[in-house]
């Protein structure tokens, strides 16, 4: 007899067979613009390939709001939940289940919720899955690295400040220790820091460039940011990373 097997594991593996690659947008600190960068990157990448976006932030999901899609959901099918498409991008978030409520759940419960979302969501065949993480290297980050394995690379977002980078640098070091592929580091909301570039060089991690501070980004949706200076600068950074 073989005991204690999780039926979601096989289903997640099957679902990922339809996914070309996974880019995880992560950070050390919160408030660095990671979700905005992730959402706008998905939008830009979708110009040349099929892209899906998965919001793995259990406590602070913001991808639906960034796509102006709060209240949208999914369609049930025998092959799983088919996510709503916004800007031609299928998106999935815990917010579609919690209905705007907070989810006061601890470590094990978070891992269960993330595995459920991965198992039930049928993005269909896509070239790339963009994953928006909460800040830090806790349950969500470790679960993502475990679930996506060799298929994923991690793109870290930091502010150029020492306060933000010192924490993000530790997250980069943890990802390196876990032998994860690192797509690079994006500096957001400021001028490019020489210290971050030299730290990246020392760690053999690509420093992809900086996106300046744009007060107009605010609460705008991805659609409203089309053609903005912010979007143009981000496009250059993603081109540096060969992600466009």
């Amino acid at each position: 007899m073989t005991e204690g097997t999780d039926p979601r594991d096989g289903l997640i593996r099957r679902r990922l067979e339809d996914t070309g690659s996974v880019v995880i947008f992560s950070s050390g600190k919160g408030g660095v613009g990671k979700s905005t960068i992730a959402a706008c990157s998905a939008y830009l990448m979708a110009g040349s390939r099929s892209v899906g976006i998965l919001d793995m932030d259990i406590h602070g999901p913001s991808i639906p709001a960034l796509f102006g899609a709060r209240g949208t959901g999914f369609r049930e099918s025998r092959d799983g939940l088919i996510p709503a498409r916004v800007e031609n991008i299928p998106l999935m978030s815990i917010d579609m289940f919690a209905g705007g409520r907070g989810l006061p759940v601890r470590g094990a419960g978070k891992v269960e919720a993330l595995k459920d979302m991965l198992a039930i969501t049928n993005f269909g065949p896509i070239d790339m899955l963009v994953v928006d993480m909460p800040p830090g290297t806790g349950d969500e980050f470790l679960t993502a690295l475990e679930m996506f394995g060799d298929r994923c690379s991690v793109l870290f977002v930091t502010q150029p400040s020492a306060l933000s980078w010192n924490v993000t640098r530790r997250a980069v070091e943890i990802a390196l220790e876990m032998k994860s592929d690192i797509a690079g580091v994006i500096q957001n909301m400021g001028k490019r820091s020489g210290r971050i570039s030299s730290d990246c060089s020392r760690m053999h991690v690509p420093s992809l460039g900086a996106v300046g501070y744009h007060s107009s980004v605010g609460d705008r949706t991805v659609r409203e940011l089309r053609g903005s200076a912010f979007m143009r600068e981000l496009k250059k950074v993603l081109e540096n990373a060969s992600l466009l």
Partner: protein, 141 residues
Amino acid sequence: MHEWSLAEGIIATISDECSRLSVDSVSDVDLSVGELAQIELPVLREALRSLKKGTVMSGCRIHISQEKTAFRCRKCGRNWSFSDSRKELEPLGDGGDNAVHYIPSSINAFISCPSCGSPDFDISSGFGLRISRFKPGGRRI
């Protein structure tokens, strides 16, 4: 509908395990279904019966047991059952039931401790669906 995905997951997971163990069939599968996931057993059985054809599970017996869901409050220590809290989900219509059906741990967003009102509680039993065990049949030569 979720039951069909779960059935697919059960078969995929057991097929992967059989490959790892170098066996080509399974004689018995025991499933444990937590009350919280509100899985419709006739639909799950039908999905398994349909999807297992031509797989390592094609000739196996499937045994399904149900586990009652219990909660324990982390603030006051109160233990209670899912059935005690069902009425809290009713005003939400299908929204609450659907959310918990697909993501059982989302229950913390919808109910709270009947004694102290805290939403900080653990699901102590009857969570989701698990393959309790399965018995491999023939070994690949």
